[in-house]
């Protein structure tokens, strides 16, 4: 079994107790014609395969925010390292997306993207610094740029922005 399938299976177990049994076998989105906004809006939590050649990553997992730490633990156990954490501001849907990139050191190539959607007002996420120590700076950076509060983070002060910064420049409604 390739690492992609193993990882997919492991991550799928997160969603089993969610009653919707169709989630695991959700087909990859074939049509990209419809706008990404609608597609993201209807997407249910679950893991889907992506076409590496066109997308640049293999697995795309959408999780609820209470499943996030568990997902990170699964990936850590499978030998993934953390590449980056970032956010995307979907201002039209009034949502923030946090994107976690994971990759592997060995030759079985598998890039995993874990996404979480959270409301734009009062965005909170659990920290994964307990699993990946290196998430510390990435989470601080995401907090800087998007204002996402990572609950349980040991040292959530501005990293790249000045220490007294109270603005979040990558939000779409930010005006300099």
């Amino acid at each position: 079994m390739s690492i992609q399938e193993t990882t997919k299976q492991a991550l799928s177990e997160l969603f089993i107790d969610q009653a919707t049994d169709t989630v695991i076998a959700e087909p990859p989105p074939a049509a990209t014609e419809e706008s990404v906004d609608q597609e993201e809006a209807v997407r249910l939590p679950g893991v889907i395969d992506q076409n590496y050649d066109t997308k640049g990553f293999h697995l795309d997992a959408l999780v609820e925010h209470e499943q996030l730490v568990r997902a990170a633990e699964i990936l850590f156990g499978l030998g993934f390292f953390i590449e980056s954490i970032t956010g995307v501001d979907w201002i039209k849907e009034d949502q923030l997306e946090a994107v976690y990139d994971f990759s592997r050191y060995d030759f079985e190539l598998c890039r995993v993207v874990v996404r979480v959607f959270i409301p734009r007002t009062d965005p909170h996420l659990p920290t994964i610094t307990g699993v990946y120590t290196g998430a510390n700076w990435h989470e601080r950076e995401t907090h800087d740029f998007f204002g996402i509060v990572f609950d349980g983070h040991p040292h959530l002060i501005p990293l790249l922005l000045p220490e007294d910064a109270d603005f979040h420049p990558l939000l779409k409604d930010f005006k300099a």
């Binding site: 990404v36 640049g56 390292f81 953390i82 980056s84 994107v99 050191y105 030759f107 290196g134 790249l160």
Partner: protein, 372 residues
């Protein structure tokens, strides 16, 4: 040797290394809590050269953003350009002619050698040896001259275009590169004698600055830092892009997990880069360097795309979120030293100040790339 010492929190003082300090090579600030000359902990303070490149990406069209890439990592600007070109080509589905791919590889590898040369000089300077810096800069000068004759600039090349290149290389460049490879092989032997073999250097690097595999995984360290810890991870091999699969080269891996291992990885990488350049020059096909048909205005279909390249410092990844317009909706730059520097705090505890700064040098930091 830095034996584990019981450090007392209540007997410490804070030493500000940076933002203006000779060892930080730029405006990095490390707030070290010290017990005597031993480090109790070190908090890195970033952001002194933060320019919000990611926001700029949202306000510029795709081709307009290309020059920004050279400003991220001024030492391996070519590789950063390559990463950005890759992700946009992947998103917009632009084909690259083969000759352009080969020339990309040649220039990126030349740039990698020049970047490692600066690192070598600066690293030995950190250790107190001044002369190798001058030799390194002399050698690097040859590369910069070569690249300048092709791209027109010396540091922030901005040489790649989506689907191709700014312009073609000429015979003069090819001849010059062959001369350079010959010279560099000789110089590498000289460095081995002058620097690598030196007992003082070995004593300072061997068994100092330990980074093990687990630590790399937790922090996401890549590049020579990971390869010095026994992880054979190199994007050029693990996730082949461009024409790297057609070229024969090795990834140097050392299992000692110390500063000397990282040092040796980079020294060997220069040799491997020369090999790559030599082969690429040999295989260089004729043909155009820009695709015949290319969209006039680049508007990738909505969705998110990812591409990674191996820069001189490690895995540089770009996540591009497109909404179908001519500007990126969101562009995330995953810079390698950001993760590599992050582990400094954990790794340097209990070290002597001199060793910690040598360790910092072995991480090969480029601050603008970290702060973005």
């Amino acid at each position: 040797m830095s034996q584990p010492i019981e450090l007392q929190k209540d007997e410490t003082f804070v030493l500000n290394v940076g933002p203006q300090h000779p060892a930080t090579h730029g405006v990095l600030r490390v707030k070290m809590t010290m017990d005597g000359e031993n480090i109790y902990n070190a908090e890195t303070v970033l952001g002194y050269i933060h320019r919000m490149h990611e926001k700029m990406a949202e306000n510029r069209s795709y081709p307009q953003y290309m020059p920004n890439m050279g400003r991220l990592d001024y030492l391996s600007a070519m590789a950063f350009n390559h990463g950005y070109a890759l992700v946009v080509e992947r998103a917009a589905g632009i084909e690259v002619p083969e000759r352009a791919e080969y020339i990309r590889v040649i220039t990126v590898e030349l740039n990698r050698v020049s970047s490692h040369l600066v690192w070598l000089g600066a690293f030995v300077l950190d250790l107190g040896g001044f002369t190798p810096l001058m030799y390194c800069f002399d050698d690097r000068e040859q590369i910069l001259d070569l690249l300048e004759s092709v791209t027109g600039s010396r540091l922030t090349y901005c040489y790649f275009r989506f689907g191709g290149l700014y312009n073609d290389i000429d015979d003069e460049f090819i001849a010059g590169t062959h001369v350079f490879i010959k010279r560099m092989r000789k110089e590498l032997k000289m460095y081995a004698k002058l620097v690598t073999g030196n007992i003082i250097l070995m004593k300072r690097l061997k068994e100092h600055g330990p980074i093990d595999r687990d630590m790399c995984q937790r922090y996401g360290a890549t590049g020579p830092v990971a390869r010095g810890s026994g992880i054979d991870y190199d994007v050029r091999k693990n996730e082949p892009y461009s024409v790297y699969p057609d070229l024969d080269f090795d990834i140097p891996v050392y299992h000692e997990c110390d500063s000397f291992a990282r040092y040796m990885v980079r020294m060997d990488e220069m040799e491997q880069s020369l090999r790559i350049i030599e082969q690429a020059l040999e295989k260089l096909p004729e043909g155009p360097v820009n695709p015949k048909k290319k969209p006039k205005i680049i508007k990738p279909p909505p969705g998110d795309y990812y591409a990674a390249v191996e820069t001189a410092r490690g895995n540089f990844g770009i996540r591009l979120v497109s909404d179908g317009t001519k500007n990126a909706y969101r562009l995330k730059l995953r810079s390698p030293t950001y993760s590599n520097m992050h582990l400094f705090d954990e790794a340097c505890r209990g070290m002597l100040l001199a060793d910690a700064l040598a360790f910092m040098g072995s991480l090969d930091l480029v601050i603008p790339e970290m702060d973005r």
